[in-house]
């Protein structure tokens, strides 16, 4: 099916040619392959983060738990948070964006395919760098701290606690200073977290630029902005959030890294620095970050619900604008994470008020999703169940969120399990349920097969029950006073029974995930073939064969309306009900046939080694910073940048295509010809 043109040899390396096999993955610039890699990596980290959670829950299953030491507990909740946020939800969203965005706007790839690959490689190297702390990191007890009587006591970590798990970063995912600073967290574990996050941030920033340009510039003819699927809009909004929030955390991470490694005084109160500055800068990023986490799932749900309700999305424009409003307002609420940190009453009132306003666009979305389902002919397949579950669970999480916006109430709730309940309802009940909905919905697009529905429904119900059993009790556990980030609780507190229920719920979730994995592995090989349009869908990614051909569209589509595919298949009767057109089935057959047999050779961006090589330099720089006092560290500080800059130069001079072609994507990379026929 694919043929490749010969390429000029005047590069540093021979241009890679593989379209299959291991090296084709290393050198790919195909957004679909990149999306698939993001997806597998993300789910790998999901398992790790899940295991970390289960370890936490084993420790908390009963009072006076002894399963983990305090040091290990601190490490586990830190890595659980970091992993789930940065190594699962964000990359799995990236997987969806990467795979679907070009398909949904009728394009053959993103605006900058090699940069896209670069983002992926930086991400995976960053994640591996972060977890390499297991091998290289150490947590050293801080120097003795004087108690109230001036007596110097041992640090809060017993040297006997130098276990493997206890050597992981332990400052919480938010790494508050000065606790996670040089004085109170000596050793290198926190440095791996700080630098690891820095590297991951670079990957996402590069991606955001790519997606913004792609959405604005690569749309097919007729694909006006307000004809794009909501998922594409959410991709765009998330890209804006990333673009403007990541630089802030980048600066904060540089400051904290320099505090730890080079002795600067940004957050060291004893040196005149201000720990509250860290909180401001972290949450200036951190709050937009949570919208980055939820908006992709909202986009997914906005595709799944209409398809399975056989109705258009209710209030499309309102949902689009509400998404933008959530993002915009989301920049103005960050200090609601700091209500008990000593900010002034005026600041507290202002941020409490701004936080409440976010409920408005969110509510618009909820009502519109419900309006989509109302009066529709609902199909309760697994994807739909997860989407409905999303709406319900997210409402619960949103309601507890609104209670946090009332400042005196938040003073009671903050740092208790009530907050843990809130964010897990929105992030798990919301984002993760939405993600699974998307997985079931688009699995046919990626593999050409359907995920098994029986296993899917089992997965859903086990996960749904497990999820609620885990996180609902946390609401009242929190209000009863159970404190966050504390490794054990006393029997007298009476928190035991519900904590046991929570732990059982957590293992139930694990069972649900296991069912999902069985379904995935089975269905990839033996799932029912899907055909072109398994869901009788509305959007144009379903007008091309499954699994998606390498070139996406054999013929660039021309768009005439929102939900263009639906209108090709259906008209409306006098009462506004959809009526399938006579030629609809032939249309689908024709699309499938034409999609597999392009009439002329199609140029796709050529593969390249350079993103892979360039990305490798960053973790080396990271190790160099951490070990800069040693000769190896100093060497790495030279080698790392050389590799990165060298690869960038190689990339820049990677030659243009063959003389008769011109530069399709404007980034000067050679193309490869695909397509069966050469007429």
């Amino acid at each position: 099916m694919t043929t490749t043109a010969s390429r000029p040899a005047s590069t540093i390396f021979r241009r890679p040619r593989a379209t299959e096999g291991f090296w084709s993955w290393i050198t790919t610039t195909d957004h679909k392959k990149i999306g698939i890699m993001y997806g597998y990596a993300a789910f790998f980290f999901f398992i790790i983060g899940g295991v970390e959670a289960l370890l936490l829950r084993l420790q908390l299953a009963g009072p006076n738990g002894d399963f983990l030491t305090a040091a290990e507990y601190n490490a586990m909740f830190t890595t659980h948070g970091v992993t789930m946020i940065f190594l699962f939800v964000m990359p799995v969203s990236a997987a969806f964006f990467n795979y679907l965005l070009p398909l949904m706007i009728g394009a053959r790839d993103v605006a900058f395919p090699r940069m896209n690959a670069l983002s992926w490689w930086i991400f995976i190297f960053g994640g591996l760098f972060l977890y390499s702390v297991i091998f290289f990191g150490d947590v050293v007890p801080p120097a003795g701290i004087a108690d109230g009587q001036g007596v110097v006591v041992a640090g809060n970590i017993d040297p006997a606690d130098q276990t493997l798990l206890g050597g992981l970063p332990d400052g919480g995912w938010f790494l508050y200073q000065p606790n996670a600073g040089p004085e109170y967290s000596p050793g290198t574990a926190i440095d791996f977290a700080l630098i690891g996050l820095q590297i991951l941030g670079v990957a996402s920033l590069i991606s955001s630029i790519n997606f913004i340009v792609t959405v604005f510039n690569m749309r097919a003819e007729g694909m006006r902005l307000l004809r794009m699927p909501v998922f594409v809009w959410m991709t765009l909004v998330v890209a804006f959030l990333l673009l403007f929030s990541l630089p802030i955390i980048a600066v904060a991470l540089f400051m904290a890294t320099f505090d730890r490694s080079f002795g600067t005084l940004f957050f060291q109160a004893t040196g005149g620095g201000d720990p509250i500055l860290w909180q401001h800068m972290f949450w200036l990023f951190g709050h937009p970050e949570v919208y980055i986490l939820i908006l992709p799932a909202m986009g997914i749900v906005s595709e799944v619900l209409p398809t399975n309700s056989r109705k258009p999305l209710f209030g499309y424009a309102a949902i689009v604008f509400a998404g933008g409003a959530i993002a915009f307002l989301g920049f103005g609420v960050w200090a609601h994470h700091m209500f008990s940190s000593g900010i002034t009453p005026v600041a507290q009132a202002a941020f409490g008020l701004s936080t409440m306003t976010i409920a408005v666009p969110t509510g618009i979305k909820i009502f519109n999703w419900m309006g989509t389902m109302w009066g529709g002919r609902l199909r309760f397949n697994t994807a739909m169940l997860f989407s409905i579950g999303f709406v319900a669970m997210f409402v619960i999480g949103g309601l507890s969120g609104v209670t946090h916006s009332i400042v005196p109430s938040d003073w009671q709730q903050t740092d208790t399990y009530y907050i843990v309940a809130h964010f897990h309802y929105v992030l798990f009940g919301g984002a993760i349920f939405g993600i699974f909905s998307g997985v079931y919905y688009w699995f046919p697009k990626i593999t050409g097969r359907m995920l098994n529905e029986k296993l899917g429904k089992a997965h859903f119900w086990v996960q749904f029950i497990g999820f609620n059993l885990t996180f609902a009790p946390m609401h009242w556990l929190g209000l009863q006073g159970m404190v966050r980030r504390t490794w054990r609780y006393a029997p007298e507190a009476g928190l035991g029974p519900w904590n046991l229920a929570v732990t059982i719920g957590a293992f139930t979730i694990a069972l649900g995930i296991a069912i999902f994995w069985v379904n995935w592995i089975y269905s990839k090989r033996k799932g029912e073939p899907s055909g072109l349009d398994p869901w009788d869908a509305r959007t144009i990614e379903w007008t091309i064969p499954n699994p998606t051909p390498a070139y996406n569209y054999a013929v660039p589509p021309v768009i005439h309306s929102l939900d263009d595919f639906w209108h090709q298949k259906y008209t409306e009767d006098d009462e506004g009900r959809p009526v399938r057109k006579e030629g609809a089935d032939e249309l689908i057959e024709r699309l499938d046939h034409e999609g597999r047999n392009p009439k002329s050779p199609i140029h796709m961006p050529a593969p390249s080694y350079f993103p892979f090589i360039m990305a490798m330099g960053l973790p080396l720089i990271g190790y160099g910073i951490i070990y800069h006092t040693s000769i190896i560290g100093k060497a790495l500080l030279v080698i790392g940048p050389l590799i990165t800059i060298g690869a960038l130069i190689g990339w820049g001079i990677e030659p243009l295509e063959e003389t008769e072609d011109h530069d399709e994507h404007g980034d000067g990379q050679g193309g490869e010809l695909v397509g069966a026929r050469t007429s």
């Binding site: 403007f244 802030i248 200036l284 005026v346 600041a347």
Partner: protein, 104 residues
């Protein structure tokens, strides 16, 4: 808006040099203001004046050297959005520290 259209209103070499001289003059005035403020009490006027002058320089470089005046307005809106967002967010943050004596 096509990219060839702006060839007509491309500034010339002379224009660029004139702008550069303008920028140099403004810089000289800024430095002069600095020394003036050391010698004579300017009642806090030096701040707004210096900020105003550097704003003009900023706009000149962005508008003419970066060619933004002649580009699709989409780019200006985008670029300004980043600038306004930065000013707003950091302004609020500094206010929260009382670094700007507005409130709290």
């Amino acid at each position: 808006m096509s990219q060839t259209a702006h060839a007509a209103d491309h500034p010339s070499t002379k224009d660029y040099v004139r702008i550069a001289i303008f920028l140099a003059v403004l810089t000289a005035i800024e430095v002069a203001l600095f020394y003036l403020d050391e010698a004579v009490d300017m009642n806090g006027w030096d701040g707004p004046l210096l900020v105003g002058l550097s704003t003009i320089k900023f706009i000149a470089v962005v508008g003419w050297f970066m060619h933004l005046r002649f580009e699709d307005s989409f780019l200006s809106r985008f670029f300004s959005a980043g600038f306004v967002l930065a000013m707003t967010l950091y302004g609020v943050m500094l206010a929260a520290f009382g670094a700007i004596a507005i409130f709290g």
